[in-house]
């Protein structure tokens, strides 16, 4: 049943004077998916960069109870932009005109459709850095990053998206424009609505502008690769380094399954007989960097690293990071479906989480690959399966549930950087508790009394379960 009627379409067309209104089936199907699971057909797709038009659309939707789904370039891995209840998709990737770097204030002001990599480029031209670096930055929009509170390898040292946002302009679900935060790093006026909106996955409003915090670009970086005969030892090395006073900018883990997959995909001379390797990147002043590199290498050896390699030059260094980048594409060559989890644990629990993951792998007989931003406890256990194999998918569902349970039991969280979306909603109560989840629902109710903004996300429907088959 369509929730958008012909009468609505006429009204929408009258509102959208500068953009496009798409109702053909080919267009609607093209906005029915993201980087996660499931296809949900929207009734209508609208592209406009005019904020006044967006405001009118939201008012119409609120009056007529039409669901609204803001969408960037839909690289989301948690189902954030999926139009699960039909209605209106707003394609905000077209709002890509504003990208200002204010050097003296160390901020960037951007519109939501700007690609995150463009912000990186613009900041670097001025010797600055926008710290969050999601792996999809060359194709994901900043609006999507803000909505999902994206992370990236540098999250270890520089945090996730919310740590770099100081101000927003948003359209509320009732069609009003408000500003939160501002252009100052110090800003303690009232409730921190900026942090509330970032990561609210489009359920509290539509972000139309953002003020981002920039930092000076570190002068130098260096990389270390440490090879281990045990995944748990690799985990210990990570905790040891972090408690030693060195603060790496990245710390990435690849287990044996990912090493083998990458080597098969593109031979780079990786040690496929090793149980795991970690890649560590340090940044800072060249002099302190040199000392810290030596210290970190020595620490890896004491914890039992079989070998520690320091690349000779930048080209060799790039090769090492290439190996890490190839894990995702390489593992889907094994089987077509990839369930990419981002359950995260406190850093001290990394070795224990590694052990639990291996047990889950064996218990359910699944193909589990562990890699990711281990330095911040964000381990990315990936399950490689075939979604057309129903029996296998049932086992995968159970394994995923158990991975979440393990993470939460170890004091961690369901999501380090991908967001909750549709995929993890059923597990929210497990992490937050009944009252914790209810407080969030109450906030949602106040902001969006008619439940039109991205309904069906974050909060589980009664009886909702993880379904992959």
């Amino acid at each position: 049943m369509k929730v958008v009627t012909n009468r609505h379409i006429e009204e929408i067309k009258a509102i959208v004077k500068t953009g496009r209104v798409l109702i053909d089936e080919s267009d609607r199907f093209s906005y029915s998916f993201d980087g996660s699971f499931g296809t949900y057909l929207p009734d209508i797709v609208i592209q406009t960069k005019n904020v006044d038009e967006l405001v009118s659309l939201v008012k119409l939707a609120n009056r007529e109870r039409i669901p609204i789904y803001p969408r960037g370039q839909a690289t989301s891995l948690s189902g954030g932009p999926l139009p699960v209840k039909g209605g209106m998709v707003l394609d905000l990737s077209v709002m890509n005109d504003l990208l200002e770097i204010h050097e003296e204030d160390l901020i960037a002001i951007v519109s939501p459709g700007v690609l995150t990599a463009e912000i990186h480029r613009a900041a670097e031209q001025k010797g600055l850095m926008y710290p969050p670096d999601p792996s999809s930055s060359h194709v994901s929009t900043i609006g999507g990053n803000l909505a999902e509170n994206s992370g990236g390898p540098r999250g270890l040292k520089y945090g996730v998206t919310k740590d770099s946002v100081i101000g927003l302009e948003i359209i509320t679900p009732e069609g009003e424009i408000i500003k939160t935060g501002g252009k100052t790093v110090k800003n303690v006026t009232g409730y921190d609505l900026t942090k509330l909106i970032v990561g609210s996955e489009g359920t509290l409003g539509i972000i139309t502008k953002a003020v981002l915090r920039l930092i000076p670009k570190p002068q130098a970086t260096g990389t270390i690769m440490a090879i281990f005969d045990s995944l748990v030892d690799a985990g210990s090395a990570i905790s040891k380094i972090l408690s030693s006073g060195i603060f790496p900018s990245k710390m990435e883990l690849m287990d044996q399954a990912s090493l083998v997959a990458v080597e098969k995909f593109e031979p780079l001379g990786l040690p496929t007989d090793a149980a795991a390797l970690i890649l560590i990147e340090l940044d800072g002043h060249p002099l302190s960097l040199r000392e810290e590199m030596e210290q970190a290498a020595a620490l890896c050896r004491t914890v039992g690293a079989r070998e520690v390699r320091i690349p000779k030059d930048k080209a060799e260094e790039a090769e090492l990071w290439k190996a890490r980048k190839l894990v995702s594409p390489a593992i889907v060559r094994i089987k077509p479906t990839k369930i990419s989890e981002d359950a995260t644990v406190p850093r001290s629990k990394i070795p224990e989480m590694c052990e639990r993951l291996l047990k889950i792998r064996d218990k359910y007989g699944i193909h589990l690959v562990v890699f990711g931003h281990a330095g911040d406890g964000n381990l990315h256990p990936n399950i490689i399966c075939d979604k057309t194999d129903q029996e296998e998918m049932l086992r995968v569902e159970q394994a995923v549930a158990e991975i979440f349970t393990a993470a939460v039991e170890l004091g961690g969280t369901l999501s380090g950087e991908h967001g909750i979306g549709t995929m993890k909603a059923p597990f929210m109560e497990m992490e937050l508790g009944v009252v914790g989840l209810d407080m969030m629902k109450r906030i949602k109710k106040v902001w969006d009394p008619n439940n039109i903004m991205n309904p069906g996300k974050i909060f589980p429907e009664p009886g909702q379960k993880l379904e992959l088959s």
Partner: protein
């Protein structure tokens, strides 16, 4: 037409769509997504539409028609794809499925069949085309057509192309074209030259220059008789049977000569020749022969580099040159370095890479004829970057790109300061060959 979902999946190569993880890495490199700004015109969007048919969610294939027709087939998405989705195969299969079900109007059907199956693959008909254009340009007809305004009234905007098509060689000169040329200096390779259909009729001069350059660089060149059109236009239009038929004819013709390489000078044709092995992989009789053919197929730039380049090139005195890549050469044949190497070997040249150099120019076979408006939008994007280089020469390596860039120069009214040339023409110019 009722077919089971299982058969439809096979027909559409549905299994190949499953490798798409919808990561969107193809979006920034797709010229139609960048130009038209809709997911419907992105590789990920198109693959999803095919997937939806395979899953029974879309039952009317005509929904796919426009999104697939507006794809240039440049395959930049394949180069960008981290999971190795075979987009080209998915596109080809889907187009063939649509063509099979589509009821073209009688004149359209006649024109399609006549052009793709009779004219383009036929040496005789392509000669007639070449001769007609020659006659048109030489006889005063062109002048008459222009002053009478009739060029603006011909269908498919063909009038626009009229001004940028080069004057072909005369029928007499064409009939005297040599079939064998010896290497000028020490012999390095014996190569069989692939003439192509459009190249042979409209760009006959570039073919002749190619043969001279190959001989100059140290190749014995043989122009194999009975060769025909490569079949690329047919394959892209979804006429797979005709494409296979032409491939077999070419394999047969070139098997007569035991050359070291089969050399072509057109990126699009080269890609098709490079893929014969893939095209006939399910044919027991032809699979191996097709694979052998493809293994020998090379772009002329590869052979010239393999021969050690061209001797005695004259300095260009700081001429500003840029290079518009052929998509099929880049994304299918993966030939990217050799043309640059040859260009940079010309003394005194000032080479400037344009922004987004890998983006398609919008020519794409007959795309600029059948999707004229879309093609011009893509071209206008391309010309922004081309103009910014301030180059005096734009080098191309495919006849379609060459015509398109000439058109771009006309549209921007830059013909007084900028010219478009095939790499072969420019190398010949630098080598003093005419």
């Amino acid at each position: 037409m009722t077919v089971s979902l299982k058969d439809l999946r096979e027909e559409l190569q549905y299994d190949k769509t499953k490798n798409c993880v919808q990561c969107g890495y193809c979006l920034p490199v797709c010229p139609t997504y960048a130009t038209f700004g809709k997911e419907t015109h992105s590789p990920r969007g198109r693959i999803n539409l095919v997937k939806m048919v395979g899953e029974g969610k879309i039952t009317d294939l005509s929904i796919l028609e426009e999104p697939l027709n507006l794809c240039l087939g440049c395959r930049a998405c394949e180069t960008a794809c981290p999971t190795g989705v075979e987009y080209g195969s998915i596109l080809e299969a889907a187009r063939a499925a649509i063509v099979k079900r589509k009821r073209f109007s009688f004149p359209a059907r006649l024109l399609r069949k006549a052009m793709l199956n009779k004219v383009v693959p036929s040496k005789k008909w392509m000669n007639v085309t070449g001769h007609s254009i020659w006659l048109y340009k030489k006889s005063g007809l062109q002048k008459l057509a222009r002053t009478s305004g009739i060029v603006e009234k011909v269908p498919y905007n063909l009038g626009t192309f009229e001004s940028v098509i080069p004057t072909p060689v005369s029928p007499i000169e064409r009939s005297q074209a040599p079939t064998e040329v010896k290497a000028k200096h020490k012999v390095k390779y014996t190569v069989a030259f692939f003439t192509g259909c459009i190249m042979d009729s409209m760009f006959h001069r570039i073919n002749q220059l190619s043969i001279k350059l190959l001989s100059e660089a140290g190749c014995n060149v043989v122009v194999v008789p009975k060769q025909t059109c490569c079949g690329a236009l047919q394959a892209h239009a979804g006429e797979m049977d005709e494409a296979r038929h032409l491939a077999k004819q070419n394999i047969l013709a070139f098997e007569q000569i035991n050359a070291d390489f089969i050399v072509n000078n057109a990126g699009g044709c080269g890609a098709q020749l490079y893929e014969y092995g893939h095209l006939l992989s399910n044919d027991k009789v032809w699979a191996e022969r097709a694979a052998n053919f493809s293994a020998k197929s090379r772009d002329i730039s590869q052979i010239l580099v393999a021969c050690g380049g061209l001797p005695d090139m004259q300095p260009r005195h700081g001429e500003r040159v840029t290079y518009q890549r052929s998509c099929h050469m880049t994304n299918v044949q993966k030939v990217t370095q050799e043309p640059l190497e040859l260009l940079k070997s010309i003394p005194g040249i000032h080479f400037i890479e344009m922004n987004q150099a890998d983006m398609c120019c919008g020519s794409a076979g007959i795309y600029n004829i059948v999707n004229y408006d879309a093609s011009m939008q893509i071209l206008d994007e391309k010309m922004k970057h081309t103009k910014a280089t301030n180059a005096a020469v734009i080098i191309t390596t495919n006849p379609g790109c060459l015509i398109q860039m000439k058109l771009g120069i006309e549209r921007e009214e830059l013909s007084h300061s900028m010219r478009a040339l095939h790499l072969v023409e420019y190398l010949a110019e630098a080598s003093g060959i005419s």
